[in-house]
């Protein structure tokens, strides 16, 4: 129907159809009708095209709707930059974290006269500036580019002196931790946008601060400081003792916590190696984790404290009862032996001080598998601890509890808990039997009373104090004793699992201590991972390394903690005959 036009036909060049015949009224109408028909089908095609166009738009909108928000652009809205955070202070008002004002360097590339020169001069002040990226940023036609966040005042004045047109400074807040790494794991740190991403910084982010910041309401606001339960002085002592012990015993890691047994307040807690929150890059290192709350370990003989408390509290055992530890126990093809084998019948205090595996296994056996599990759950050793700190690990236990599992768990093998929750459970044994959730915020005794759960009887608690004291006076914890402060405690020397077997050369040691034992106020728990024998010593048991660490911590911090020394005889603790 369409014919190629005769290109030679002059005016007809653009009438693309054969010319109408001369008398064309009727025919003309007919031809117009065909035009109309064709035109209409072409319009239909156009409608379809636009249908496709708008559908593409719709599909793209759906795609965008499905995507979650990301911070893609190099700059955040101006409000975010000035976001303030409350200061964090310790229980005595010492600053743990604060905001300082800094400036950040930006460029307005459309105002830059000579990008080459600008880059060259900037590099004289900021030698580590990436020349290629910066050149690309400066020669783009955008209106805003960050060049460097958070400059020092000296860098700012040097850049100002360069007099480069088209660059400027924007004030920003930067978090500063005066104590550096002292309380790193408790305080945590923030990201470049001043948002808390670890420790208590993250906790307060979740307490509404994040919402405030998102609403832009934290700009230039001065906020009430947040007081933590930490005592910076004790914290420094703990960290110092840990660092010294790490070196002395060539250990790969160490950790310690000081806990108020009546309020559940964590007075000091840290683990080494740690990091400097002012330069949180190191925090990414896998080895730098808060071992006290985010690591789980088989606590070893320290667990016998709980086994014996369970036995006494169950009413099946009396503190004057005797247990036969003459022969190793054979169960399920495995033999349970004593480390310091006595090969005699032991009293219960002797089971504790001699750290008898046979004795504690027999006690657990008497209570039964279900009773044992129920007790460990009751004192919070089998479930995830509830506290403000976000980095809390889940303890692990055997998938299936059989007799052998219950028996090994009685001396701390097969159940891995976080050291902090071991300390919390230990506090419950010492404070009259009340389990109190640990906290990193100040808490009074009355507040703690309200949430406390009675897990063992007062009587059992009193008996446990006597055992703890005994172990320091004449058992494995002798090196923990500090004159006048009446320390009680239990050592734990656990063999670490290497390639799926318990190794007898690689150890994880712990010491769970309380003081003053006649009226316990604080729990001190230290752990030391893979300690080596000290020079001149042949062994690396907890009594030789963990106990002296506790000694150092208590000796140096008791005065800060307001515990008065008492000298003279130990009369306040009734000695029992056995």
């Amino acid at each position: 129907m369409m014919r190629m036009p005769a290109l030679s036909s002059g005016l007809g060049l653009f009438s693309f159809r054969s010319k109408p015949k001369a008398s064309g009224h009727i025919e003309l109408k007919g031809e117009r009708a065909t035009y109309g028909q064709q035109s209409r089908s072409r319009i239909l095609i156009t409608i379809l095209c636009f249908g496709v166009f708008y559908s593409v738009i719709g599909a793209r909108l759906v795609q965008y709707g499905m995507e979650s928000e990301e911070t893609v652009s190099s700059i955040g809205p101006a409000d975010k930059l000035m976001a303030s955070r409350p200061d964090l202070i310790d229980r005595n008002g010492e600053v743990l974290a604060t905001d300082i004002r800094t400036v950040s360097l930006y460029a307005e590339p459309n105002k830059i006269v000579d990008p080459d020169e600008a880059v060259e001069r900037l590099v004289t002040v900021l030698p580590d500036l990436d020349v290629r990226t910066t050149y690309r940023k400066l020669s783009s036609s955008s209106r805003f580019q960050w060049l460097r966040r958070q400059l020092t005042p000296k860098q700012q004045s040097q850049i100002l002196a360069l007099g480069i047109p088209g660059i400027g400074f924007r004030p920003e807040k930067r978090r500063f931790y005066p104590g550096g790494s002292t309380a790193a794991y408790v305080v945590g740190h923030v990201n470049i946008d001043n948002k808390g991403i670890a420790g208590m910084e993250k906790y307060i982010e979740g307490q509404g601060l994040g919402d405030l910041a998102a609403a832009g309401l934290t700009v230039n606001e001065s906020m009430e400081p947040v007081r933590l339960s930490i005592d910076l002085r004790v914290q420094s002592v703990v960290r110092d003792e840990l660092a010294a012990a790490m070196q002395r015993y060539s250990a790969i890691a160490a950790g310690g916590v000081v806990l108020d047994i009546h309020t559940g307040e964590v007075i000091a807690m840290t683990s080494l190696p740690d990091y400097d929150p002012n330069n949180p890059v190191e925090a990414l290192d896998k080895n730098r984790l808060n071992r006290m709350s985010a690591g789980t370990y088989e606590m070893g003989s320290t667990f016998k404290t709980f086994t014996i408390a369970m036995g006494l509290d169950s009413g099946l055992f009396n503190i004057n009862d005797r247990i036969d530890a003459r022969y190793p126990l054979v169960i399920g093809g495995r033999t349970i032996r004593d480390f310091h084998a006595t090969r005699r019948i032991l009293t219960i205090p002797e089971v504790f001080t001699h750290s008898s595996n046979i004795g504690s296994a027999k006690m657990a056996d008497a209570v039964g598998i279900e009773g044992h599990r129920e007790f460990l759950t009751r004192i919070g050793l089998l479930s995830r601890m509830q506290t403000e700190l976000p980095e809390i690990a889940m303890p692990s236990q055997p998938h299936e509890w059989k007799k052998i599992h219950s028996m090994t768990a009685s001396f701390g093998h097969g159940v891995a808990t976080t050291p902090l929750q071991t300390a919390v459970a230990g506090a419950a044994l010492m404070n009259g039997g009340k389990l109190i959730e640990p906290t990193f915020l100040p808490r009074t005794r009355e507040e703690a009373e309200k949430t406390a759960i009675q897990v063992i009887s007062k009587k059992t608690s009193d008996e446990m104090r006597i055992l703890m004291r005994d172990n320091v006076v004449q058992g494995s914890g002798r090196r923990a004793e500090v004159d006048g402060f009446r320390v009680g405690g239990k050592t734990g020397t656990a063999e670490k699992v290497v390639n799926g077997r318990y190794s007898n050369s690689v150890r994880f040691n712990a010491f769970l201590a309380t003081f003053p034992v006649d009226d316990p106020q604080y729990i001190v728990l230290v752990i030391i991972d893979e300690p080596k024998p000290e020079e001149g010593k042949y062994s690396a048991t907890a009594g030789l390394n963990a106990a002296p660490m506790v000694n150092g911590i208590i000796r140096r911090s008791a005065a800060f903690l307001g515990v008065e020394p008492k000298f003279g005889n130990d009369a306040s603790i009734a000695r029992l005959s056995y």
Binding site: M2, M4, P5, L11, L13, F14, S15, F16, K19, P20, A22, S23, G24, H25, L28, K29, E31, R32, Y35, G36, Q38, S39, R40, R42, I43, L44, I45, T46, I47, F50, G51, F53, Y54, V56, I57, G58, R60, L61, V62, Y64, G65, E67, S68, E69, E70, T71, V72, S73, I75, P77, A78, D79, S140, S141, S142, R143, F144, G216
Partner: protein, 386 residues
Amino acid sequence: MLSRVERGPVADWFWTIDRLFLAAFLALIGIGFMLSFAASPPVAERLGLDSFHFVKRHAFFLAPALVTMFAVSFLAPRQVRRLAIVILAVSIVAMVMALFFGVEVKGSRRWISVAGLSIQPSEFMKPAFVIICAWLFSERSRHPEIPGNLFAIILFCIVAALLVAQPDLGQTMLTTAIWGGMFFMAGMSWFWIMLLGGLAIAGFISAYFVFSHVAERINGFLMKGGDTFQVDTAREAIIRGDWFGQGPGEGTIKRILPDSHTDFVFSVAAEEFGILFCMVLTLLFAFIVIRGLNKAGKLQDEFSRLAVAGLSLLIGFQSFINIGVNLELLPAKGMTLPMISYGGSSMIAVALTAGFLLALTRQSPETRARRTTSRRSLIPMRPEQA
């Protein structure tokens, strides 16, 4: 209420106007004003003006825009054509003047200053150009001896040359697309469509090589490199808005989005009112365009059919390109969103477009029934045909 028996001009208008069209246009104008509250204060603040400077200006232009739309919608097709001729002639002259006396903004001369008002004549040229092309295309069947197509091509070349000279590549491509679409819908043979399509592609390729900023933008779009600050920010704004938006006045990305009140108003709408709202907005445009084309298909009169189709294409292409740029579907190009974006010339010119559309789609028994065309033809027919 106006009585159907009354035959005054207002009653006539009331009973013949396409009310759905009218409602859609009024809705768009309303949404545009509402969005100016969201999109323009950050720009005004950046320029050191009163926060509501552009909101006030937008409100100021609403009245003339509405008056233009309603007044033009009263016109009969013949009057529409005459008005279009006048506007086309004036705007072509003004575009030539702008080249010589205009103010240079961002490297192009598009604006002339008349009595203190900055006017962009190319905006007014577009609807008038569509009407005149529709007339030229339709005349070829009525007056085969008049080379309507040739004139249409010449007219297109003049307009395109003026736009390239400014330079305004976005408008050039838009005009080309509309002209091509009308050429296609006028029922031209595939040979010519292929030929002119080839020419258009050749023109596009030469633009790529001649104008460095065109090449830069296209490269940037294809290779995801270059300066993508605007589109990246727009994308971030839309994603931040999510389905339901952050709420009026709650946008923050809009503060750093350049041209948030003109080319990127769609992204601001998404950030504050949500993606669902943007879908409604898109549907409104789709409704106008598809209804316009559909109505065009039903019109008997060839001139009206092509004109209505062309005007729908104008709104369609312009909205598609603008939204496409916002959604990173097309390379960045300065193009306003009809009725929504801020800009006095653009607003009144779009009102003119809407007025033309409403005028030509009015139900008129005369236009539907009339077969003879002598009364509407400016050029008397040959006696043997009449």
